[in-house]
Symmetry: C2
Subunit: 306 residues, 2 copies
Amino acid sequence: MAVSKCTRLSGPLIKQLLDSVDNVLFDCDGVIWRGDEAISGAPEVINLLKKTGKGVYFVTNNSTKTRKMYADKLAKLGFNATEEEVFGTAYCSAMYLKSVCKLEGKVYLIGSNAMRQELEKVEIEQIGVGPDHVSGTQFDWANVALDPEVKAVLVGFDEHFSYMKLNKALQYLSNSDCQFVGTNTDTRLPLEGGKAVPGTGCLVKAVETAAQRQAQVVGKPNRFMFDCVAGKFNVDPNRCLMVGDRLDTDILLGSNCGLKTLLTLTGVSTVADAETHQKSGCPVRQGMVPDYYVDSIAELLPALQG
Amino acid sequence: MAVSKCTRLSGPLIKQLLDSVDNVLFDCDGVIWRGDEAISGAPEVINLLKKTGKGVYFVTNNSTKTRKMYADKLAKLGFNATEEEVFGTAYCSAMYLKSVCKLEGKVYLIGSNAMRQELEKVEIEQIGVGPDHVSGTQFDWANVALDPEVKAVLVGFDEHFSYMKLNKALQYLSNSDCQFVGTNTDTRLPLEGGKAVPGTGCLVKAVETAAQRQAQVVGKPNRFMFDCVAGKFNVDPNRCLMVGDRLDTDILLGSNCGLKTLLTLTGVSTVADAETHQKSGCPVRQGMVPDYYVDSIAELLPALQG
């Protein structure tokens, strides 16, 4: 069906695409909502997709919310969705530590309360959440008290990130048996009006530089996020569509997993960005070129109502 | 005279090498002292070099001390040295902003009180030193109050590094007219007993990742450190020796500037490290192979006393 990449999705092509899939994965921020407001038409699209029998799942690199918090926000904005349909990196990191790392021990967590809650739900003990200011001298920092039960360092978004946290991560990771996991590598959190604040990728990079080790990254574009969905629900990659606003996370995840991909222009990336990747001749960057694009997912609405 | 690289310096070769130079640059930590103790024999070596008429200068990537603080420490440990002979990155960064960046405006400083003092000495105003904890929401962070007179971000060692500092650096650097300078990229500060704490390189990397820009790095191996010395004193690179314990900073600086290079084994790097670089076939890594090595600079003593 798809003849060339980066095609504007319109007319009869919309229904053709939707008929060709059983499951649709949506990124959240910049796709179904922006900040605290739903993208106009997005709740109708999601709710109609589910009504026609499609599986709909929410796949986000944001590590600051539990599944429950996402489900509450979805409900409030008019989306028909359950906790089990949400896959954020707070939840997926806990799953990763449990199922891939087979962690037996505690986690030193640079992250949020939401991450703490998701770890607790799978019975992983953690330490580290909240402010941790520096005191003393270099000697004190190098000899800071460590918990011998810590067997992994997990780095997610943490507005209390500090030199002391960076130092503790280094001290734990100096033990080569200590595992090193990051939620995602997004370098910035984009906000309304073109502004942005530093993202988790900055914190992961600082810890990687100190530890002289590379983190295992759970979030998109790592296929683990898709595996989490596919492990719980019956998802055939050939009949699955990934919808997102970022080429380097959402679209690349889709390509990595053999999904169909749809870029929506209500968020970070542009068609020009996609065309630059397409022309690059670089195989990795080809994976960032979506099959289709729309101005907004509201454009799917007529085909669903028809 | 030098026939092959990475030669053990001994016997008559020592006097030959010393006779072939007029100036000697020494790194400090791991070379002339370790922590708060002089390397045995190092003060005698430095003092005799000066007595025989050599210029001796101290070139360090450490940004936590002013020239005055270094001169005091040198005197206390028995080294015959003046403030003017010390070139640390706190001082050199101030010089860099003044002479290379031609800065007209304030600096947002992620760094130490010592850096503040060196900036003040060259009449550059700065803000940012000391703790800066986070509060509020993402919206508050993105709209944090900025000083419109800030025209450069300078990142050095700062144990008060925090998410809020990272965020402010990002906000300033979103203006492409704002210059971006780092003192050095050493990833760790090594301490006695094989321990280490995170170095300035981790902080620079975090800010680079957030800002999606690369810092101009003042410290070794950037030749600006040598230019600082050569700009003040009469130094012929062909008749100058660089002595250090790190291949990737000290020895590479020497190679970059056409100096003779001597690795001392009282610090970070080993002869095996140097041999690995030598065998790599990579041109950049060849620059990290010293001309000579000694176990300790104390081995220069007999040739100076003779």
